[in-house]
Amino acid sequence: MTHPGDITRRQLLRRIGITALAAGPGAGLLAACATAGTGGEPSAAPSTSLPASADPKNPFGVDAQKPLEVVIFSGGYGDAYAKDLHEELYRKAFAGVTVKHTATQEIGTQLRPRLIGGDAPDVINNSGPKSMDLAALAAEGHLADLASLFDAPSVDDPAKKVRDTITPAVLENAKVTGKDLVLNYTVSHRALWYNAKLFAAKGWTLPATWEEFTALGETAKKEGILLFAYPGQKGPYYQFWNVLYTAAKIGGNQVIIDIDNLVDNAWNAEPMKRAVTVWADIQAKYGDKAYFGLDHTQTQIKQLQNKVLFYPVGSWIENEMAKDKPDDFEYAIAPIPEVTGSDRMPYGAIQVGVGENFVVAAKGKNPQGGLEYLRLMLSKEGARGFTEKTKNVTVVNGAAEGVDLPAGLMSAARAQDRAGRNVITEARFEGWYKELFDYGTEQINVVMAGRITPEEFCANLQKKADAVKKDDAVTKQTRSS
């Protein structure tokens, strides 16, 4: 899952320092050297499937002599959870084994040449703004089939399969072009986030309808507080998500599923238009255009200063801002208010999604070790440790029990209970059709600033979606639920 919290300013600078060298007429073509030596012969590209043996201690038959290489995206979660925890678990399981640990923000830049050149690391945390195109990697057979991982006995209870110890959404989201190729490790809750202590102090209650929402906007305005803001720099896709989720609340998850499947005129659907319209209206009446020029950190600091009431983001926000958070601030999640009065999903619906991709390289030196590493990550010990280190919940059922969770995460867990089956689905075209998603994040600023109408926004995105649909260079994917 890429969110702006993944990049700090310093990391960004470093990235620019590096990319600037490649700019110019030959921009980026350094990577092109990688084509040299590849023959024109179409290679059969089956993804390697490794049989799981009956031995619950070592179902994949890992050879302790073989070293394991793990590459971690060191963004919002850092890399200590891998270095000090998961890799230690692996070392403990196979005495004397060597584990090579690499942390980077440049997953794609570093690993693309290595994969193509046949020198793939075994476990890859494919995350961040430079993450790799999984469909393209899958087409080349670079990704190991994780079906055997899901069918392997779980570390904690050999009678259970791994697939029965994790959130079902993981299995749904594991599919890349029809095969189980990617493990999503974390669970996040997305909706609007606010300061529960401020609400308690002012005696405000959460708005359940759009009228209450705007009424609160008026009240807050008198106190010099903005009802709503999102970062126009680096994080406009927070608002893009927010609008998509609002559309799903109004018209049901089918709205997002149709958009993901590139169904004709999916963007012009009435719920989508309505969602864009109400949010553009909020921005015009209760927003401040200065935020179009602020990045996520600046905006989040403003919220910590109680200058912004609601902020559209996910549950990682609490850990991201932990260092700056004053004592009188307590993060809590607020569902999107009822828009039409007859929304398909009742008030309380929030988005709960899995994220943070891990893949195992099929053509690496030690794919068995890679699968075993993921199996250890999915053990209770591995998952609980991750939650302790990052204050984020994993997909492993019950692994966070007994861990002292911060207030925001608790509020998210309670909100999920209340939402019950009314869980808003994630928009998967973010990973499938990045060009469409990026275009959306650009256009959302334009429509929120009032330079185009919501109808034009929908029409523009439809045009782009049609272009992606026609482009045979883009691998198409579909989802049914």
């Binding site: 110019g24 921009a27 179009f292 602020l294």
Partner: protein, 304 residues
């Protein structure tokens, strides 16, 4: 034998740089031309040739044309403004003080100014970017908007208004470039024999007349070089725009330029073939600019 020794000596010096240059500069360029004819996605082991399809697509690509338009504006404004400012400063620093004793002097404190002008040149582009993010910040915490707020002026969205953003960025580019050209032109001016100025001054020419009748004509070659450098700089701007405006040339693509479009197309959208086609287009644009500038400004050398 004599010749072998002589050429062997020269070749020995040239071999290493030539090999490095071929491997790291020439060969990627050649490969870009090859890739521009393919639909390669950066991962595939099968490289499919699509002829000139990529170039056909370029002509219909809205983003490409927007980037070209921005390059056009940069190409006109950046060299002109930078050279004008740099010439004025260089003149003041070197000759602006008039004749004092023997020869021409700069204005009082010119050594100090010279250093100050050069400061921005020393800063890395990324630092300049972050610095100007604070300067241009669109609320009252911004340096400019903070001052404006004292006078009761509403904050201006320097980088978030589509009509303003590119100009704000050009201002930063000019700010950063001026120092270097002041030094370049100062060196050019130092090479002009002092007698010319003295003679002209004796004949009663004022400073304006000195500048236009002596300094400028004799600096022509230097100015031309500066023009080409700045023109090529106008085709880049990648890092600055990436930090200041955003990685898609925000807002609304108002600040998008080819290097940014190429980078996104190749590395975010995995269309390496198409991105190479853009790279090839950029290559020809840059070369055309340099050749045109050299041709149109060529004339007889002034003999000193």
């Amino acid at each position: 034998m004599e010749r072998l020794r002589r050429y062997g000596f020269v070749a020995g010096f040239l071999a290493v740089p030539l090999v490095l240059y071929t491997v790291f500069v020439i060969s990627p360029y050649v490969q870009a031309f090859q890739l521009a004819l393919t639909s390669w996605n950066g991962y595939s082991s099968i490289v499919r040739y699509v002829g000139l399809d990529n170039f056909g697509r370029l002509f219909q690509d809205e983003v490409f044309w927007r980037a070209l338009r921005n390059h056009g504006i940069l190409l006109l404004v950046l060299p002109l403004v930078t050279i004008l400012i740099a010439l004025v400063f260089a003149f003041l620093l070197n000759l602006g003080g008039g004749t004092r004793g023997a020869g021409m002097k700069g204005v009082w404190g010119s050594n100090f100014y010279r250093t100050v002008f050069f400061f921005p040149q020393v800063l890395a582009v990324a630092v300049v970017g972050v610095l100007f993010q604070a300067v241009y910040r669109p609320d009252e915490d911004g340096v400019i908007n903070g001052v404006l707020a004292r006078f009761g002026v509403d904050p201006v969205g320097w980088l978030i208004e589509p009509d303003l953003a590119l100009w704000s960025i050009i201002a930063v580019m000019v700010w950063q470039a001026v120092g270097f050209y002041v030094v370049l032109f100062s060196a050019g001016m130092a090479a002009i024999p002092k007698d010319y100025f003295e003679a002209a001054a004796l004949d009663g020419a004022n400073r304006l007349r000195l500048f236009f009748s002596i300094t400028l004509p004799l600096l022509r070659d230097t100015v031309q070089v500066g023009w080409i450098y700045l023109g090529i700089a106008a085709f880049d701007g990648f890092a600055l725009i990436q930090v200041l405006a955003g990685d898609k040339g925000e807002p609304d693509g108002a600040t998008t330029i080819l290097p940014i479009t190429i980078y996104n197309t190749a590395f975010s959208y995995q269309k390496v073939g198409y991105a190479s086609a853009m790279g090839v287009a950029l290559f020809f644009l840059t070369v055309t600019f340099a050749v045109l500038t050299l041709r149109t400004t060529r004339r007889e050398r002034v003999e000193l």
